[in-house]
């Protein structure tokens, strides 16, 4: 279990502010954030490598806030793993046990044991410089796990590994986690990596933990436009409230009527208020193909526009739509208004090429309203 309460720290101009979260024992928690958001600092402060100014860190009921790193019992894998280049793999794995003045035979026994578990017995006598990315990861994990740490901290473990290998390493760590049941805190800026591995997810932007929770709830209900963007949702709209009936809100977005459901947030919404909301690219539906005759007819949540780019890739077709009103392009201000994804089969069936005009529908139930400012 990891509990961080109100953690703040300042390094030079950079500041981590009031970080507060709780990860259960055995959970896999990923912190996602852009480069320079302070993710590494957070990890280093949990490991005890950086003193914190305020707050509290608890590992498995043990307050470690003021303990030096050597007394915290955390397994820490920095970026690129930092295997000691002057030691063989065997020595690298055994170094923690040697520091604990364990008997030589016992050290060797435990090193071989953990190496067997991670499938690296055959490279025990190699030097780290000659290892592949996957082997390095296993050695670094063995070096940490041989000490039976209370938690594992992984700092961007796959940032310098190419895409193909990365995926197989994700599976490796996921399987390992299922087997060893250790609490893992993993930081990354890779959305797909975060989604693949996380049970809990935290979003860090500019030194603040802006959202934290179960993976699904965070991915489904981002609190703010910044979080949505980080989660790969580019359809972020701002519209003014025209009318409100219960929790059904009618807004005006660039002269289009967009209806959405505000749920519990409805109480704080008044007419003329500006709302910010988003819709996932795969949840925008193509409703009519080609030029429509009924352009003049106003239908809620249906946007008519022209395809300005299309990218069929990896089983998914993505196209970018620029909204038009009454056939007249009024909006030169942005590159595109909607990013829309659909299965490649359907994408090809609809022949969605650049220049084509289509209507799309934003299903009201699928529109997610951000937290009100």
């Amino acid at each position: 279990m990891v509990m961080v309460r109100d953690l703040s720290l300042r390094v030079g101009d950079f500041e981590l502010k009031s970080i507060d979260f709780h990860v259960e024992s055995g959970e896999y928690c990923v912190f996602l954030g852009p480069t320079g958001a302070g993710k590494t600092l957070l990890l280093e402060s949990i490991a005890g490598l950086i003193p914190i100014d305020e707050g509290e860190i608890v590992l498995n009921e043990r307050r470690v806030t003021n303990l030096p790193p050597e007394r915290r019992n955390v397994g820490y894998l920095p970026q690129d793993y930092a295997l000691f280049p002057f030691m063989s793999v065997r020595k690298n794995i055994g170094v923690g046990l040697r520091l604990r003045r364990m008997d030589r035979n016992e050290i060797d026994k435990r090193v071989v044991e953990i190496a067997k578990e991670l499938g690296i017995v055959h490279i025990l006598d190699r030097m780290p410089l000659r290892l592949s990315g996957g082997e390095k990861q296993r050695v670094a994990l063995a070096r940490a796990l041989v000490l039976d740490p209370e938690i594992l901290l992984l700092d961007e473990p796959y940032s310098s590994i190419d895409a193909g290998l990365k995926r197989s390493l994700w599976w490796f760590i996921k399987k390992l986690h299922r087997r060893i049941k250790k609490t893992i805190i993993h930081i990354t800026h890779d959305l797909e990596e975060a989604y693949t591995l996380a049970e809990k997810i935290g979003i860090i932007i500019d030194g603040r933990l802006v959202q934290f929770g179960e993976r699904e709830s965070v991915f489904r209900y981002p609190k703010s436009p910044a979080v949505a963007k980080l989660l790969g949702i580019n359809n972020i709209l701002s519209a003014r409230v025209v009318d409100k009936r219960g929790n059904r809100i009618i807004t005006n977005w660039k002269d289009n009527r967009i209806v959405l459901y505000a749920g519990e947030k409805a109480d704080d919404i008044e007419k003329d208020k500006e709302l910010h909301f988003c819709i996932r690219p795969e949840e925008v539906k193509v409703v009519s193909n080609g030029d429509i005759e009924s352009v003049g007819k106003v239908e809620s949540n249906v946007i008519y526009g022209e395809i300005i780019a299309s990218v069929p890739y990896g089983g998914v077709g993505t196209f970018y739509l620029k909204a038009m009103n009454n056939g007249i392009d009024r909006h030169f201000d942005s590159d595109y208004d909607f990013e829309i994804k659909l299965p490649q089969e359907r994408f090809e069936y609809l022949k969605l090429h650049v220049g084509k005009r289509v209507s799309v529908r934003l299903v009201p139930e699928r529109i997610h309203l951000f937290d009100l400012a």
Partner: protein, 281 residues
């Protein structure tokens, strides 16, 4: 698009740009290189003309030159060993800790690198001759002025700044993540220094020792001021050159120069080997 590829002539401008400009540029670079090589060759030829080969080994193996050689090897080895031992904790602190006044201290350690060695020698001489503490040390502990310990001290002060600079850049180049990892594996700060930082700095430390040693063996100004130039007493190799000229013995001076030159070449080769570079001709 085809037009773009046909306009190669555009590149050939009038005022020194394009191909003509390149020729002038290459001429300047190549010319400087050739001129400097010619100058070095001239220096070597004109010096070699003075060697009288008949007496070469007599002078080389004379008591005075052998004394100067042995003394130089001894004092510069001791001075650079002490310098590196002092520089290790200082440079580690400068590289790893942030404390008030760090930048000022860092700058102070640069002074001996840029200050004239004779000024350093003079400051030391004044300290031991004119201050109470200095006089006390001279009379009751070690005599520095005009004695061999003076040479060691002078060389130590001149080269220790260099050792600090070299070792600091060595420590700076070692990624903090290695120390971070060993700490989380159970090492105290001191253990992380012993188990990780020093082994990783090994090449840097050896390199720093060699460079400071080479600098110490050529040290003249501070040595002369503090320890003087007494034949067969405080006569290091550079002092021997100075004394040879004082008695107009060019032959002897040249032999000492050759000794220093061979030491310099040996040091350079060693450093190249250490830094893993392959010698190509």
């Amino acid at each position: 698009m085809r037009g773009v590829f046909r306009t190669g002539k555009v590149n050939r401008g009038k005022n020194g740009s394009g191909i003509n400009g390149n020729r002038a540029f290459n001429l300047i670079i190549g010319g400087t290189l050739v001129a400097s090589v010619v100058f070095a060759l001239l220096l070597i030829v004109s010096t070699a003309r003075y060697i009288r080969w008949k007496h070469f080994f007599d002078v080389l193996l004379s008591r005075e030159i052998l004394f100067a050689l042995k003394l130089s090897l001894f004092v510069s080895t001791v001075a650079s060993l002490i310098a590196v031992s002092f520089a290790l904790p200082i440079s580690y602190a400068l590289s790893r800790f942030r404390f008030p006044g760090r930048n000022i201290i860092d700058t102070i350690f640069d002074i001996p690198i840029v200050l004239s060695p004779i000024a350093i020698g003079a400051v030391l001489l004044i300290f031991f001759n004119n201050t109470i503490i200095g006089k006390f040390v001279e009379e009751h502990i070690v005599r520095f002025t005009f004695e061999i310990p003076g040479i060691i001290l002078a060389q130590f002060v001149v080269v220790s700044a260099l050792a600090v600079r070299l070792l600091k850049s060595t420590f700076d180049s070692i990624d903090l993540r290695y120390e971070g990892v060993i700490r989380t594996l159970g090492a105290t700060r001191f253990q992380s220094l012993i188990h990780v930082t020093l082994p990783m700095a090994k090449h840097g430390i050896v390199g720093a020792f060699i460079v400071t040693w080479a600098r110490a063996i050529g040290e003249f100004g501070a040595t002369l001021t503090l320890a003087g130039a007494t034949t067969m007493k405080t006569e290091t190799l550079p002092i021997a050159i100075f004394l040879s000229f004082a008695k107009a013995d060019v032959q002897q001076a040249i032999i000492v120069i050759l000794i220093l030159l061979s030491l310099a070449i040996a040091v350079l080769l060693l450093i190249r080997k250490l830094s893993g570079e392959v010698m190509t001709w």
